[in-house]
Structures are given as C-alpha cells and as structure tokens.
C-alpha cells in the first residue's frame, strides 16, 4: 500500500476538484458548523474541537542567524476527523498530521508526521497548553510562553516563544467568512511571539532570534464547492503593524484581511478591500507557482511587493502546497510568510 497516496485520497477526503483544495469543500454531514456570534473562550478554545471536521495549529516564524542570514520555520499540527467524536483507543476517528519545515535562502527541508488520536501519540490539551505529534511539540505553562520542537531526517529545531501582545480575532470576533455563499471558520491568531532558539541543520547548529505568528482555525466546511485554493499572507511591517490577508480562488475570487496595529488593535476588512496579484511565477515540483506578488490594502496605504526568500519552498507532503518566508518592499518594508494551495500540476 502506498500510504502517502492513500492519505492524499483519504485523510482529507478529496474526491473531486469541485470540493475545493484538499477536500475542504466536502459536505458537512454530522459535523458542527461555525456560527456567527459565538464568543471565543480561552484557554478552552486553544484545545481541540473534535466536533468539527478540520482544525489546525499553525506557526510560522521569520528569524535571523548570528551572521544576519534570514531563516524561516514552520510548525503545523492538523487535526482531521473521520467522524465528529473523540475518545480513547484506536477506534477514535481523529487523525493527526504534522508538518515542519526550515527554509534558508538556499534550502527548504520538510518533514511530515501522521498519527491516530486516542492512544496518546498525538493530541492537544488546552491548559496547560500542549500540542504534540510524536516527538514534535508546542507546549508551555500557558499560551504566552511556549517551547516548540520538531525534527526531520535533515533538520531539527528547538525554540522558545514569548508573546508580547494580545490574541487577534479575525472577521467578526473570530468568525471568519470564507465565501460569498457563507462558508466560514473560527479563526484567531497570536502574531506577537518573540522567538529565540536553535536550528539544527546538516551544517551544524545555528542560534536564531526572530518573530513568530501562530494561527488557529477550525471548521467543517471552510471552502465553497467552487473554491480550488488560496493565497494567504501574514505580513509584519517594520512599523510594528501587521496584516493578514487572503484570496480564496474560485469562480469569483473572495478576499478578506485583518489590519493589526502595533498596539494590538484588529480591524477586519470585507471582501474586495484587500487585493493581491502575481508578479513573478516560478516552477517548482512540476507546477507553476507565483512567488512574487503585488499586495495592496488601499485603506491603510499598503502597496507592497512581496518576494519569496526561497521560491523553492514547496511542501512535498501528503497534501502538497507552497509555504515559505517572504520579504516586503514598497510602501512598507518588513518580512512575513506566504502560503499558496491548490496549484495543481
């Protein structure tokens, strides 16, 4: 059995393009559906929501080494439910998938882990916070002080994260609409982590410092049937302000954005306020992917060029996508992360 191919077909049951990237447009069945007006509760909502089909704990970081070399790292834990229950033992229908990557200007190394829920191999506990799969973990006494670890055949990292600002709720207090048809997810972020730690690369250990951004999202049907993928930007400007924006590509594109001021005030922007257009395309893993973008949020005077640090930051995982650090120039300077899904070969 080709486990990886199976997973592609099954872990995220994608049966047709019409159901969106990685099956995220699949029917809801018995799963719970995000509703507007539900206030997020912490620390409980840091934990898992097994009644929803899909959920992730998604951390990206822009870092520099002692010689000024820029680095990027990613740590993601996905939860995917075959049925809306949780429990003990192998029968538990919760599946877990971890993705970790380190990006340098020259290299991009990736690792993936898969695990069953219910036996202790992977899971998330809200308080004290712990999210883990195998030896990978993001855990700490509370959500503001975390230790993050992962290892692959070619790399490992172990870094400390300290929050210096508040949690940010996207959309309507965390209810983030994803299409004109009303598909939505719960979505909040912690974009204010200071990072300090060590990357272990084939060349040796590298001490790094930088900034990290953690995204939390869960839903049961986050995509509309016609939506085939998305381009997602998390940008940290030199001014201390930050911006999250995405385009969901479908029959008509759907965009949304959140402006996060340096003092932690969040302002959501509805469909159409945010715009991004490809400037440069790059071929990686047999696909053409836009790795240079013009990104605009006119309401905040943002008109910047976003360029990949390493255009080969392809995540050759069960469900493949592009994810890597970017640099920002134009009306604002800064660094950030770009995620692009649904670019089929």
């Amino acid at each position: 059995m080709n486990v990886k191919a199976l997973l592609l077909a099954l872990l995220l049951p994608m049966q047709a393009v019409a159901q969106g990237f990685a099956g995220l447009g699949a029917a809801v069945d018995d799963f719970a559906v995000p509703l507007p007006g539900r206030a997020l509760e912490f620390p409980a909502d840091h934990g898992a929501h097994p009644a929803y089909r899909i959920e992730w704990w998604y951390l990206t970081a822009n870092m520099t080494g002692p010689d000024g070399t820029p680095y990027g790292l990613q740590w993601t834990l996905f939860r995917s439910a075959l049925a809306p229950q949780d429990g003990e033992g192998w029968e538990t229908p919760q599946l877990w998938m971890g993705h970790a990557a380190v990006t340098t200007p020259e290299a991009h190394v990736v690792a993936e882990r898969l695990a069953r829920g219910g036996i202790g191999q992977a899971g998330v506990v809200a308080d004290p916070f712990a999210a883990w799969i195998d030896d990978w973990a993001m855990e700490g006494p509370d959500f503001d002080n975390l230790r993050l670890r992962a290892s692959g055949a070619e790399f490992a990292y172990d870094v400390a994260l300290t929050a210096t600002g508040p949690l940010i709720r996207h959309g309507q207090d965390g209810y983030s609409v994803k299409s004109a048809a009303g598909q939505a997810s719960y979505y909040y972020s912690q974009p204010f982590f200071d990072l300090k730690g060590t990357l272990t690369l084939p060349e040796g250990a590298v001490p790094v410092t930088g900034r990290a951004w953690l995204d939390r999202e869960w839903s049961s049907q986050p995509l509309a049937a016609d939506q085939t993928g998305w381009d997602w930007f998390s940008l940290s400007f030199d001014t201390g302000d930050k911006m999250m924006g995405f385009i969901l590509r479908g029959d008509t594109d759907y965009t949304a954005a959140t402006w996060i001021s340096a003092d932690g005030q969040a302002t959501p922007y509805p469909d159409g306020a945010f715009a991004a257009a490809p400037l440069a395309w790059h071929e990686v893993a047999g696909r053409r992917v836009p790795t240079g973008w013009q990104v605009r949020l006119p309401d905040r005077g943002v008109d910047v060029t976003v360029t990949a640090l390493n255009p080969d930051a392809w995540m050759a995982t069960s469900v493949p996508y592009w994810e890597g650090p970017v640099t920002i120039s134009g009306s604002h300077g800064g660094v950030g992360y770009l995620e692009m899904t649904g670019y089929d070969d």
Partner: protein, 799 residues
Amino acid sequence: MSIGLNGAILSALASHWWRNPMQLLTLLAGLALATALWSGVQAINAEARASYDAAAATLGEGQFAQITARDGGAIAQETYVALRRAGWAVSPVVEGRLDGVRLIGLEPLTAPGGLGPVRADSGADLGAFLAGAGQIFAQAETLARLPDTGAQGVASPDVAPNTALTDIGLAQRLLGRAGQIDRLIVAPQQPLTRVPLAEVAPDLIQSAPQDGGDIAQLTDSFHLNLTAFGLLSFAVGLFIVHGAIGLAFEQRRPMVRTLRALGAPLWRLIALMAVELAVLALVAGLIGVGLGYVIAAALLPDVAATLRGLYGADVAGQLSLRPAWWLSGLAIAVGGTAVAAFGALWSLARMPLLSGRQARAMGMGRSQRVQSVAALVLLILSGGLALWGQGLVAGFVMLGALLIGGALALPPLLARGLMLAEARARRPVAQWFWADTRQQVPGLSLALMALMLAMAANVGVSTMVSSFRLTFTGFLDQRLASELYVSAADQAQAEAIIALATQEAQAILPLLSTDATVAGLPVQIYGARDHATYRDNWQFLQAEPSVWDALARGEGVLVNEQLYRRAGLDLGAMVPVGAGVTLPVLGIYGDYGNPIGQVIVTEDLFRAQFPAITALRFGLRTDPARVDPLRAALRERAGVPETAMVDQAAIKAMSLAVFERTFTVTTALNVLTLAVAGFAILMSLLTLAAMRLPQLAPVWALGLTRRRLAGLDLIRAVVLAALTGALALPLGLALAWALLAVVNVEAFGWRLPMYLFPLDYLRLGLLALLAAALAALWPAWRLSRIPPAQLLGVFRHER
C-alpha cells in the same frame, strides 16, 4: 465477383484439409502442444511470482529493521507511544490466529511505504479501514473461512494465502489483545535527533533487516530454469509447426498452380492462405492455452510446496486465470505460426507459374547445403558470444544460436552417419535398410530436430538443476559448519553468550565483520579464528598450497569469487586491509547467494586493524545431539530469543526440500517435452507412410514380408532416435555449460561448477528411444496390415 473468387479459393484450400485430416490434426496438435508447454510454464511462473509477491508484500516487514521484546513477549502500547514521542519512526504490528487464519494488524499511518494491505489505486478508503466496523483484506477463500467479525471483508488477491490484514485496533479486539503489540517496524529514515532505545525501552531490542539474499537467488534460479524450459519447449513445438505447414504447402503446390492458371491473383492467394493459417493458429492457440492450464494446474501444487518451503508462508495451490498469459499464449501461437509460415509463403510467392512437383525435390540438395552453412554460422556465432559476449542478452542469444545451430546441423550429420553405416553394411537387406533410412531423413528431419531439442533441453536443464543442488548443498555444508548460529543484541549479551558457550559448547567461533571498499567495490571484511572447522570444511576454487597455515600467520587474505571476478583479484593480487596493511590473495572461495564481495583475514589481524569492532554473532560447535539443550541454555541463561538462533540442520533440510520440489517439476516437464517430440515423430511417420509405398513395394515384391518391413520400420525409428540422442547429448551439455557458466554468471555474478550425471542421461536416452518406438508402433502396425493389393497398385501403370 470478388467474394465468389475468394470463396472459390477458400473452398479449394479447405478441400486439402478435408482430404488430409491427419495433416490438419498434426498442425493443430503441434501448435497446440507447443503453446500448451509454453503457456503452462508461463502460468506456473506467473502464479509463483504473484504468490510470493503477495507473500513478500505481506511479510515485507523483513526488509525493515524490527524492534521486539527481549523476552519474546508482547510490547505494551504505551511503550510504542513512548518510542514515537522519543523520536523513533516505528510502526506497530500485532499478529495472531483467528479460526486458523493468520490475522495481521497494521497501523497504516505510520507503516513504512509499500507495507500493508491496501492499494491507493484500488479505490481503497482509509476512512472505512480505520473507523466504524473496519475492513479486513484477504483472498476470497480466506475471507470465507473467517468468522463473522462485523467488519467489511475486502477480497484482495494480493494478500498472501490464509492471511488477513486489518487495522491494528480491530486486530487487537478480534484477537483479544487490547493494548498489546508484537513487534515494531523501524522505518528506514529516522529523524536527526532521537533518544537511544535503551533509555526509552530497555526491555526492547532492535534487529537488523533480514538478509534475504540466499532465498531470492534460489528462487531466481528456479525461475530461470522454468523460463529456459518454456522457451525450449516452444522451440520444439515450433519445429513441429514448421514441418506441418511446410508439408501442407508442399502438397498444395499443384493446386496453387491450377488456381493461378485459372486466374486467381497471387497476392490474393497468399493473403487468403495467411488468413487460413491465422484462424488455425488462433484455434490451436486457444486449445493450447487450455492444455497449458491443465499442465500448470497439475504441476502447481509442487511449485506451491517449493515456495512454501522457501518462505515458510502459505502459497495458493490453485491457479487463477490471468489474462496476461491467455493473451501471451495466443500471441506466441500466432507469432510462432507466422515465423514457421513465412518461408513457405515466401517460396510460394516466388514460385514460377508453371512450376512442377519436382521443384522441391530438386532443391533439396541445395537447401541441405544452405542448412549446413546456416548451422555452421550459428554455431560459430554461439562460440564467439561464449568467448567474447557481454551481458545477459548476449548469453541468451548465445543459447538460442547454439540450439538452432545444433538442430540445423542434425540432418547433415545424420546423413553422414547413415552413409558410413551403409558403406560398412555387407548384406543386401542391411544395405537397403541404411539407404532407405537415409532417404527418409529429409522427411523426418523436423521431427528429429524437435526430438533433439527436447533431449538437449532436458539434459541441459537437468544438469543445471543437479549441479546447482550439489554445489549449493556442498556450500551449505561448508558455510554452515557450526551446529548453531547465535546473534547477540548487544555487547553484554555477547559476553553472556561467550561465557555460556565456553562451558557448554566445544568451540566458539566469533564472526567479526566490517564494511570496506576494495578496488572501488563495497566489500565485507571478516575476521576468522584459526580453527579446524574452517580447515576441514572450506573448499577453494583456487588456492596457494597450505593456504590455512599462511592465513593463520597473517601472510595473506582469502577473497570470494564475486570479488575475484569483479575486481580481477587473482591469486597473489594485493588487497588493502584497513590502514596501511596490504596482503596478497591466498585463496578464492565460492560464495553462492551473496551479492557483494568478501575478504577474510585472520582474527588477530582483524582485531588489530579494527579494534572498535566486537563480535555480536557466533558460530557454536557442539555435538549435533546437544544442539537443543544448548539452545535452551542460551535462551534461559543468556536471554537470547529464539529468533536470534539458527539451527544449521533446519536450514539444510529446508534447502534440500526446495531442491526436491524443483526436481519434481523438472522431471514432469522432461516427460512432457519428450511426449511432444514423440508426437512429432508419429505425425511425420504417418505422413511419410503413403509417400513411401513406391519404395516399399519393390522390396516387398522381392520377398520381404510386410511383418519384416514393419519390424524394420520400428528398428529404423529407434536407430534414428538413438543417433539423434547421441548428437543431443553434447548439445545438451553445451546448453548446460552455457546456463551455468555464461547465463548464471551474467545473472547472478557467480559461476556454478558443472557436474555430469551419466545415469540421468542414460535414463533420458532410454525414454527418448521409448518415445520414438511408441511413435513408430502404429505406422508399423498399419504397414504390417496393408492390403497386398495396395502394394501391388504401385506397379500399375496409371498410378
């Protein structure tokens, strides 16, 4: 008009078969038998491969390192989770019997790639496999034997027989072993950082991937035998078909001439004859594939038993109809007919409009010369390839040239031999007998060639299999001289084994080895203790005098045949051993079934050169009767698990059982090919019977009775078979040599010594004589009963 013409030509063509039903039968039967042998052998091969592909897929864990409990018991599920959380990429397996069926539980998310029951392209659904009532994958007959588990049964021909695969959670529940794991498969790729096994789970030990080299090569060799047999059988059949088609065309020459004189265009005649042959080939092919199925079904239980011996796994003893070999059987029948008919159609196309019956008879002398030249060219080509050829393809081309050249050389050699006999004959009847025999050689030559190929194939393949057996069992005796082999998990256990064996065993031989590079090739360097075990048992392909004494003094090294051949390290060549030490080759030993090179040095030298390496494997010498107590002592007092001990007698018994099965199959195929050749002789004799009357009638008129004539015919068949057999023996031995010394070297990297088995050849010769005599019996009986009026008719004017 056109349809009318086609119809007329077709009915004229068909009328030949109506008048000569025996010829039609020969053609169909020859082609069908050839196809049957080919497709039967292919079916056995395909089934065998499919069976152990399935076995390998099911038992494919062997390719990975494994972690088991030191005491051989179960591993707690918490230990598995602890290992995963310590960075170990391991996957759990639980196994047990459920109503006699071997039930294996796997964890598909962590299992290394390629391992497990489900194929993505078969529309499998991981959701159904993991959640809800679950799924069980097995062959349909295995599913039928399972109790009702509530899980969905999925028929999967790729799972090994009597084995069922399911998710570990369901397997634990069905086996009543919640929370228990039997072993952990270690993925080949591990993370950069992980905690040592001894810190996470001191009760577990890791074992290296199984080295399946010997068995893989044994089975490869088994398949090479079968494939060679299949090809040779088909070649035998091809000669029959060639003969039958040639005869049919020859006899229809006057009819073709008449049709053309009546205005039928040549190209249309040829096209219609080709269509006619294609239809006959398809019919014969279908019959042949069906017959092949019967042959395969009859032989398969033995093949299955062979494979069960090899893998210790269940292998289906039943054939499933695979479209691939139905199609390949039909293709080979049609293709073979095309090859056989090409010459006949070609000569028809070039036939002058008014050519007469004599055309062929006159051309006979010339065509025999052409045949002799072709035979010579092919044999020279074969010899050239044997000397200078490179690669497996050259090896097979050489085999083909040898066989066809040998077959083509048969009629001229027979004619020469019979001429000699004729010259020595004094009495008139004897003189006539030899002359008449020689005169019949052209008509019988194709059948005799078929007989010769069948005999040569049998001599060749039997010699190869028997030589392989002698060599391999000798090699096992040499290599497995110690009564018991023990692997230690770590240094502490190694010391415990040494302490125990020093008291309980007669001798302890540490097996020290390290990887190195010699002449750019990967090799293993072994340190051998100077002990009578080696001196008494090891045989060399080449060696200096008193090689063991010189080795013990550290004056040189031994290398295996693979290294000798690949790196060209002859006796005296210098081999680097560790840092700054280079020693000459003292001896070269056969090392069958090992893919890479080996260098053996003395134990002292090894320990001096590689002080960091300590022995974890040991050969223990003891009284064979003491093996079991020694095993028990090692298990109980040194904590060595059963899986870490190998009993030499068990390995030998298994290997010999495999060879016995191979022989059964080989013998059965021997008899079948001879039967096909015998059939070819029968058909040729029946065809010749009518044509020979003009030659027999005068001898009868001179006073030889019909009984006497029939008796002489019988003797003639036996004499021809004996002569053919005498010529087939060198050809068969050349074939065996080619298989052992050329094809085997190219395929596996080592050369098998060739042994001769005169008694086997004698038995085979007698079988061939018997086949020929049986084939001649009916024509002879018919001759003894022929009405005198028919013989007299020869002298009538209007014959």
